[in-house]
Symmetry: D2
Subunit: 425 residues, 4 copies
């Protein structure tokens, strides 16, 4: 199910509205930031805000306007080198680890670039003949930009974490009293042959298909995510110092990197704090644990005598179970601390933290990447990474779905990832 | 199916005979080597011969004799530090990358250590009461030592490759005329629900179980392995220079490491040579390609418009198909150049090269590692690696089986790995 | 001759005028830069502009105001961590290689910090009782800030060089026709016992003393600096490929780093260009070669059959010889291309490029660093570095003098360093 | 004073006797070692024993026999690649850090190579016409091999230190009771213009000349070396934790490497032990401190309120003062613990430990390296290193002299270096 063969369900008016709102939202996310905040790259994984602003724009320019708006003139020929991420088909580019070296184009220049390309998109939609194939690529562009909205929010937190003065991205917001965490409960699922993957109804990325049958054994999933409070138990029980819980590569990483707690956690006077978009705050015991690697999620599950779910166990449960999402809604930028509503099934599936699964990221049976640059979107990353399911509090509203496959390397921690326990029946 | 719960099918007499022959074979493999050859570590992956000789001995001493021979006295307390590989349960140890720093104990001392432990094993068997659990661990020790026999042969080739004077491990042997490669042909398999994993009949490692059902789609496998001749076509077609064939991590490795051909290949005067246990020899076109990484195997399959098989596709085929092995038998130390016998099904499944599969190495449903040190044998490596199936010309005779799961990191090349093509029906 | 014991020759009025003009000039140097340009650190050696602006301010705050203005209140306690460079006496600090991670304080905040400290300095001078010791530290602060003006200009060029879009710091200025280089000529000096080092008349850094006797042999110095044209001859003669010209450490660096030309040189269509503050310009043949390491300077001298001067040979010549400086005056930011005026002695001693000497940077006989933080200013760097003499086109007017000792590691190239040839009589 | 222009003072009979005894002594030094001990390279600085055996032989073969024995046939063309150290004139070679990869040629083969070349040297001397130039190169070969005798002894200690089983090179020898250290006393020297460097009488390396005048200020040198007991005081006073004593590069190294004591020192149960050729022994308080870097020597001197001598201060003192050497004589392989005999001047100048000086290693005025390979012997290393004077207990008897210049990088510790304090008058 390569992206180019997809058909969007939206009519041009709807699509244009989505283009506009998506483009505006990206700009709004960057608004609280100074020019200085937007240019720096604190580690190779985390790109500068300005780069995200430019890259998402270049994506529309290159794959939509250059291809499908006949009289379009490229804004600046040099920007393809600056803002191409990893598309070998689209030519040479600034090395990933050097994205923070680009003081030019400036923020103002990138803002002009955005407006120029937005104008191009308006002109495209003003024409009569928006072909379905073009509409489909526009829809990919929207979803692509939504992914970068989450990355931008992940990356800017890393910027604030890396400097000596830990400014908040925004002022802390009142969120009411954190209620007690409901007890862990288990929902059982039958297994058997199940259909998984996207069925082609609505947008999906190519890596979500083809839809196919999978054989599952009976299993149970926890009603809620693992909490900070439970994570502290793991820590207090020596979880980070006992090799027995860890995969060999994970244990090596723990020792080499000196991990003692989740990324962004810091101890002061025997109290744990956590770097958030609202600054360094006390760790909230009832909130889902976040910013942990696959290695840590797996170790915790072993310590707890459980295991991580497979991606299909999660998908089947998410499709069939009654679920409750983040009660804060879009723009929360932090996991909910409201009590998970567990009376009727699984809660916290969408909108708190992405959930690590034990499934390595690999192609579904029959998957073939499209020809050309957009075929590089997902397919070439299908090795060495683990699948995460769900969505985090940084994920744009409506971006995810039960078949959505997010993926990161097992050592990475700056993403908003946590875990839900699973067990065999 | 953790190893400790296994029951061996062999009676004590058979088992003792296997112990003796395995221990002798290891010593015989080291016989052509000078003391200098046996101490050096050319890269962290490749351990010194002397270390293999000591480690396999330590394994019997630690897990069999110390536990089950009541009056056994440890040969030298310091050897546990020297020869423990990765068993955190068994205490601290020489860092893997520093194994080549151990000039002491000398080769002669390690030979004495081997004899001392061999005597202990004889004494153990001379007693009346060899408990089944003990017999089972002895059997693991045998299979463990067989694995290290293959590693020893892989590693010593790396030693000879790394020095300026590329001595052969042994003199080249005449092997008759290389006949033409039979044309590529395809065998179809139906798919459906298939039982995979070891059924408990005969020895198996814990990672081969539990036996369980897997759902397969109809598929075809090539009748034979990809040959050097075909690999040269890939190279001549620019395979190592065209990003379109490669996974992203693979392409990064190709560029960073400057890969142009399989490991151990070297071009002189427009002719390709290959480092073998018989020295630097001309590449034989009809022989299976060897010493390639997963990245290369995957890229070749894409270039050919095919794909790699999954580990279960391979297993089902190997179990049901009529197969032909290496015609050279044990101790060939090089892939066969005899024509693959393809009239009646799949050939070259065992005894030429291990076959990379597209399956990442992960636990089977219901897998639980055993408590204690032997639980570290396989389970803790189940991330970041790919499964290989079959057996190579370095694998001891009878060591492998259709359910056997070998595993390496996708960038590793010093193992004797090649590939067989697969495709969807 | 530690700095603290020095007495300034300036009266308070003069001193205050110098403080003001120095502080203004730093601000003016940063004026053409965007906030983005000022925050990035392209390599550990090159600090962000904003850091220079903050550090020079912190220096006055810490060593002058905190110590000597009784009611002074520190602007922000956190800034000492941000802007301390290497003074262990002054506490912990941002790691040098992480200076580019500081998006906060912003440029605007640092500008406020500068004004606040400037006000403090005005208040200090408004009081009656400016003690000579305090005046002396103020004078060090001025000279310190002048050094950072040169560093700022070196570092910002590295920023523009490191990005994909090579913006100029300023627009190119017309400088008249480049006239032919005068032929190389030699001035002889007698040697013998000579007094070297600063005599205490006017400001000097502690490393310029104590003044002492040195024994020199008769020698000759070239009338002018080595030109780009001569450097191209060296390159065309294979200078970068012939080990015979190079020190062993230099040859290792050439091969490891792939040096083929001076830093900031780039070949396009067989023409050499050079990154300058005015952008990427054609290399001017008659201009002094610049941005070369000690290794390159030494290799060139060997290739030419000459040698580098010692620092005392240079000093004696500079003190006694009739010299001609950069004809462009302050703020040229590039070496002069006007003909060196060589009729009456040595030209280009001050104001084009610093001149590498064969002298390693070590203490003069009797040198003792002061107690406390200012004793760290120079003394602790007296190993592994080479002395440069003169001054470059980036050096503030009047900052240097014949006894001035600049010093860098022999592999460093981003400084504005060149060479003058010497030979024995 | 390049080596090729030197004339040896020895007649052919004397010279041949020296060749024989030197060659025998190298072989004898290796005799206690197993083949395993001789092949391993524990760090890039420390070469394998076998390599030293081969390299010194290659030196005679290449520069003496190939050039001057008309019918000489090279033993094995491949050995030049194996055993060339750093002579670019002599062609390509095994990378320094890869010397430990050479399992072949074996020890036995290298022993045969040594005998073959020894035979060649005998044949050379059996001819009538040993030209003075040839004799001079033979003498260099002898002195070269003596240098490698010391390196071999340094390097083999590093091998034993690096393995988990710390075997001794030889059994500990009784050396009588260690007597109390005499109190520190000072000998004064007048300074003034002094002649330094070798005067051409007897053998010297090219870097010891040309002899020239140097201007010295009055100074004092300590009567004896700094002892382990004094070093322990430095450690107990927090010497390794107080930045004030250290050069900036040294302090960075202390922190990065975690230095807490001299190299080869190890604390067990609050007692300090030291790895020696006789195994891990208790640190002897009265013995000179050894295996310290320049950074440590310099820090100690600052802590003590003194300084290191310059190389000329040492040379003038060594030439004029009444001196006492190591009382153990050749082959001690450890610093003397006999009381330094200080009644009449400076003791311990030769035969205990090399003495770090504050002089960077640079060419004497008028120094020019010879053309060709032997010109690479010393000249190309004249940057980034510090001069040591004297000789250590590993230095062959008679190898050193007052003008001898040894040199190492300031961070290196595996050499047998210590220090003697100096001060201004």
């Amino acid at each position: 199910m390569p992206p180019l063969r997809m058909k969007t369900a939206m009519d041009p008016t709807q699509l244009l509205a989505r283009v506009r709102s998506t483009r505006h939202r990206t700009r709004d996310l960057a608004r609280p930031l100074t020019p200085e905040d937007q240019v720096v790259q604190p580690m190779p994984d985390a790109s500068p805000t300005k780069w995200h602003l430019g890259h998402t724009t270049w994506f529309f320019e290159t794959f939509v306007l250059c291809e499908h708006l006949s009289d379009y003139r490229v804004y600046d020929e040099r920007f393809s080198y600056c803002f191409n991420s990893y598309y070998d088909h689209a030519g040479t580019r600034q090395a990933r680890a050097q994205r923070g070296m680009m003081t030019r184009p400036t923020n103002d220049e990138v803002a002009r670039y955005r407006r120029y390309v937005d104008d191009g998109l308006e002109r495209l939609f003003a024409r009569r003949d928006l072909a379905p194939a073009v509409a489909s690529i526009v829809e990919i562009g929207i979803n692509h930009e939504e992914q970068h909205q989450e990355l931008l929010m992940m990356d800017i937190l890393n910027v604030f974490w890396s400097g000596p003065i830990r400014s908040p991205y925004r002022e802390p917001r009142k969120i009411g009293v954190a209620l007690p965490t409901p007890p862990l409960a288990w929902t059982s699922f039958d297994g058997g042959i199940q259909e998984v993957g996207h069925d082609g109804d609505g947008f999906a990325f190519d890596n979500e298909g083809p839809r196919h049958s999978a054989l599952l054994r009976p299993y149970r999933l926890a009603n809620r995510l693992v909490t900070n409070s439970e994570w502290l138990e793991f820590m207090e029980d020596g979880g980070y110092r006992d090799f027995r819980h860890w995969l060999s590569d994970g244990w090596g990483t723990v020792q080499r990197e000196g991990w003692l707690a989740p990324y962004y956690w810091e101890e002061k006077d025997s109290t744990w704090f956590q770097m958030t978009h609202e600054g360094l705050l006390r760790v909230v015991p009832s909130a889902p644990v976040c910013n942990i690697s696959y290695y840590e999620a797996d170790a915790f599950a072993r310590w707890a005598g459980k295991r991580l779910p497979t991606e299909f166990e999660w998908e089947v449960a998410a499709r069939t179970g009654s679920t409750t999402g983040n009660t804060l809604g879009t723009g929360a930028f932090r996991p909910s601390t409201a009590p998970a509503n567990c009376a009727s099934g699984l809660s916290q599936l969408i909108g708190d933290v992405w959930e690590w699964t034990q499934s390595s990221y690999s192609p579904y049976p029959g998957f073939k990447a499209a020809e050309g640059a957009l075929g590089e979107y997902n397919g070439k990353f299908m090795v060495n990474q683990q699948v995460l399911r769900g969505a985090s509090c940084l994920t744009p509203d409506g971006h995810s779905r039960p078949t959505y496959r997010n993926f990161f390397y097992p050592h990475q921690r700056w993403l908003f990832g946590g875990l839900r326990l699973a067990e065999d029946v």
